[in-house]
């Protein structure tokens, strides 16, 4: 995995994008943002700051009210094949086995069985869950379900991975473990990530760019660059610089939250 290159075309580009639902208040106000291939962008901010909406705009699940948004030079709707979404819930179909859950989106895209099986084995290997291929979701732990959900997203070979608080419901240990696993997978598969989280530590550990957002209406308050080289490991968490950055982002986040209240 190379470092994000500054010269290449933006992969996702927001130009003065605003969003409101119906006649409601402005949810996102004048968002301008460009990401380069390989960026890992975390979005953090008080609830109601529109970070999930921003993700859903990229996903094409909802559309912009004004401004332009392009994904790999296309509209989000047209760029569906480049995108995969990991939701806060594992969103596995309970009536399908782990294997069938991962293969379903592939078969819906018309991919043939032999290739589906190969892809499924490859992505389950990435999350070390091949032994659970024939299990049903209810037989898995919360962390395992989330890993299957991530594997399913990766099976689509996306250029852009959108993650909406995927580890929010997990305990601290599992979360840290999955953070490391996610970065390890990223070493082998170049995708750009948008990651919504409430955890400052998680944002700093994973990202090269952390966007602190403020609410009413949602906009990008501050961008913090996280300079640590990838791959990052447990050692990164122990470093002085890491702790300083976590403290800095927390301070900004707190000021944003008190402003909002």
């Amino acid at each position: 995995m190379s470092e994000p290159s500054a010269q290449s075309q933006p992969l996702v580009e927001f130009r003065e994008v605003s969003k409101r639902f119906g006649a409601g208040p402005l949810v996102l106000d004048q968002i301008t943002l460009a990401t380069r291939p390989g960026d890992f962008v975390s979005l953090i901010g008080p609830s109601g700051c529109g970070k999930s909406t921003l993700l859903r705009l990229i996903a094409g699940l909802t559309s912009v009210s004004s401004g332009t948004l392009t994904v790999d030079g296309l509209t989000p709707e047209a760029a569906a094949a480049e995108l995969a979404f990991v939701f806060q819930e594992p969103t596995l179909l309970p009536w399908l086995t782990v294997a069938a859950n991962i293969e379903l989106p592939l078969s819906l895209r018309g991919i043939l069985p032999a290739e589906r099986v190969a892809t499924r084995q490859r992505v389950l290997e990435l999350v070390r869950l091949n032994p659970k291929a024939s299990a049903y979701p209810r037989q898995l732990s919360g962390g395992q379900k989330m890993r299957v959900s991530i594997a399913r997203a990766l099976a689509l070979s996306p250029k852009i991975l959108l993650l909406d608080e995927p580890f929010g419901a997990l305990d601290e240990m599992t979360r840290e473990h999955l953070n490391e696993e996610l970065l390890a997978i990223r070493e082998r598969h170049a995708w750009t990530a948008f990651f919504v989280t409430h955890s400052v530590a998680e944002a700093v550990f994973l990202s090269n760019r952390v966007l602190v957002m403020s609410a009413n209406p949602g906009h990008i308050h501050t961008e913090i660059t996280i300079p640590f080289a990838y791959p990052r490991t447990e050692q990164t968490r122990l470093s002085r610089d890491y702790h300083d950055l976590v403290a800095k982002v927390s301070r900004i986040l707190r000021s944003v939250e008190t402003d909002t209240v």
């Binding site: 979404f85 939701f87 819930e89 179909l93 009536w95 379903l104 819906l108 895209r109 049903y136 979701p137």
Partner: protein
């Protein structure tokens, strides 16, 4: 004693106790009233002497019940699909479904006999009408209660409506469908019996259990009447067990309702 042995032994003991009390009540009655409560032994004897008649009647009732039940399952499924398309369709049709449900179908039995003919046609239509409502309501509820997150996931995959229906809405509705099916399965034999009671016929096949019940009570053959009731119970038991088995087959791998039964 293991739980498993107790699970069989305890209900058997209850049954024996009930039969003993029953027999005791029979003996406690004055001689001239004893015919109103035949002893379990007399009912068993009636089973033996009327076995052929009861078996044939049970077969006829089963035919009516199966025909009405199966057509209710099929037609209710397609109606539920239509209802799940939009809330406007639901708003337009629901009040009339409710009215249909509240209509005492039995009142129309004489008219049904004229329209469709006595015996099997009327019996299966009455069964159909009785089974229909719980099936439609539950299946529709299932089709519109799909987890929002999963709907978003399918939207993300840009699936067609048909794909979404086949791979998401229908499987997600299965637990609801089986709830309806279980209710309908308990109603079907009773529906067929009541249908037969009001619109049965001795023509051709000799009528079902309802028709036979009328004959026995007019002849004051009370042990045989009790045997007819017991036969209906057995029929209902078979129907319900079959549906429970189907439900288990379809759901036990994944649904919460079977969480602790197969681990």
């Amino acid at each position: 004693m293991s739980r498993r042995v107790l699970n069989i032994l305890l209900p058997a003991l209850t049954g024996a106790l009930v039969l003993a009390v029953w027999h005791a009540i029979h003996l406690a009655l004055s001689e001239d009233l004893r015919f109103l409560l035949p002893t379990p032994g007399a009912i068993l004897e009636a089973f033996r002497t009327n076995g052929d008649v009861l078996a044939r009647a049970a077969l006829n009732t089963t035919k009516g019940a199966l025909l009405g039940f199966t057509s209710a399952v099929i037609i209710s499924f397609f109606l539920a699909l239509t209802l799940s398309l939009s809330s406007l369709v639901r708003v337009s049709l629901y009040p009339y479904l409710m009215i249909l449900q509240m209509t005492p179908v039995i009142i129309f039995a004489p008219i049904l006999v004229i329209w469709a003919g006595a015996g099997l046609p009327s019996v299966s239509i009455i069964t159909f009408l009785i089974c229909f409502f719980p099936l439609v309501v539950n299946t529709t509820q299932g089709l519109v209660s799909t987890d929002r997150n999963l709907v978003e996931l399918f939207a993300m995959w840009r699936t067609s409506r048909v794909q979404q229906l086949l791979h998401l809405r229908v499987p997600a509705a299965l637990p609801y469908f089986f709830t309806g099916l279980r209710i309908a399965a308990t109603l079907a034999p009773i529906g067929a019996l009541v249908g037969d009671y009001t619109a049965g016929s001795s023509a051709g096949d000799g009528g079902g259990l309802g028709f036979q019940a009328i004959i026995y009570s007019s002849q004051a053959k009370y042990p045989a009447l009790f045997a007819t009731a017991a036969t209906t119970c057995i029929l209902g038991f078979i129907f319900t067990s079959a549906v429970l088995a189907l439900s288990w087959l379809a759901l036990h791998h994944w649904h919460e309702s079977y969480e602790n039964t197969d681990k």
